[in-house]
Amino acid sequence: MEPILFIVFGAIAVGGAIMVVTRRHPMSSALFLILTLFAVAALFVLRQAHFLAAIQVIVYAGAVVVLFIFVIMLINVPENKLPLERLTGFRFLGIMVAGLFILEAALVARRFATPGTPTADSGSVEAVGRALFTDYLLAFEVTSVLLLAAVIGAIALAKKRI
């Protein structure tokens, strides 16, 4: 069952990602981004990371993409004023670099072709929480400082009168 679902959701994720990159209007990109994020959440479920899958949907599709869509509506560039994009030599070179990344990943992935041992408890809420609140306590506390810095920075930048 896992290979079939992997192929289905993997294809949705890759297809959605290609659509995000190739759409002209950012609103279509944002909607395809949601599709990709949902497919990735389904892949997390396939790898028994149930908690991360829920957080992926809640935080990404629920908050980050909403932020993107609000900004798209906020700056609302009309269709004919969107930047004109043509495929120049340098851009083609960029696509080649991206292809090189994929090749590199394929070479790395071959080293992991050993059959996995089924593990029950590597992604449940209890397991993640226990690791987060004991072993990775400092990282957890520093995260709050990161979020604080992000909120203060974003408000200071976006607010009209400071």
């Binding site: 908690f51 509506m73 809420v125 226990r130 995260t143 909120v151």
Partner: protein, 127 residues
């Protein structure tokens, strides 16, 4: 019928999610195609014009929304992430005991500074 439903073995709890997904996608796509296939198509200028609660549209639909929406969405993102961290903490609350309570108090306290900053800067007033 009830016998049939109860006889299906739900091997995986996500089976119901998959079923929901299939039904939702099938219904939404199916109805679009059904109305395309079955509905009569008669061109009418008024029928195809932009429709807004029965009155003529006042302005173009693509107006720039205010930056206040961004600030509200930003605070939503902050508290959404905070909830994401609170959830495993709530599950493990009894195991972690006082230690877990203190670390979460520090976490929430630091994020509270962000809320106070937003409040003082007026990101919360709608004027």
């Amino acid at each position: 019928m009830a016998n049939l439903v109860s006889s299906i073995q739900f091997a995986d709890p996500y089976f119901s999610v998959l079923l929901l997904l299939i039904i939702a996608v099938g219904m939404s796509v199916g109805f679009v195609f059904l109305s395309q296939a079955l509905g009569p198509r008669k061109y009418d200028r008024i029928k195809y014009s932009v429709y807004e609660c029965g009155v003529d549209p006042f302005t173009s639909a693509s107006v720039r929304v205010s930056v206040k929406f961004y600030l509200v969405a930003l605070l939503f993102l902050l508290f959404d992430l905070e909830t994401a961290f609170l959830y495993p903490w709530a599950v493990l609350f009894r195991d972690l005991g006082l230690f877990g309570f203190i670390e979460m108090t520090i976490f929430v306290g630091i994020l509270l500074v962000g809320l106070v900053y937003a409040w003082k800067k007026g990101a919360l007033d709608w004027q």
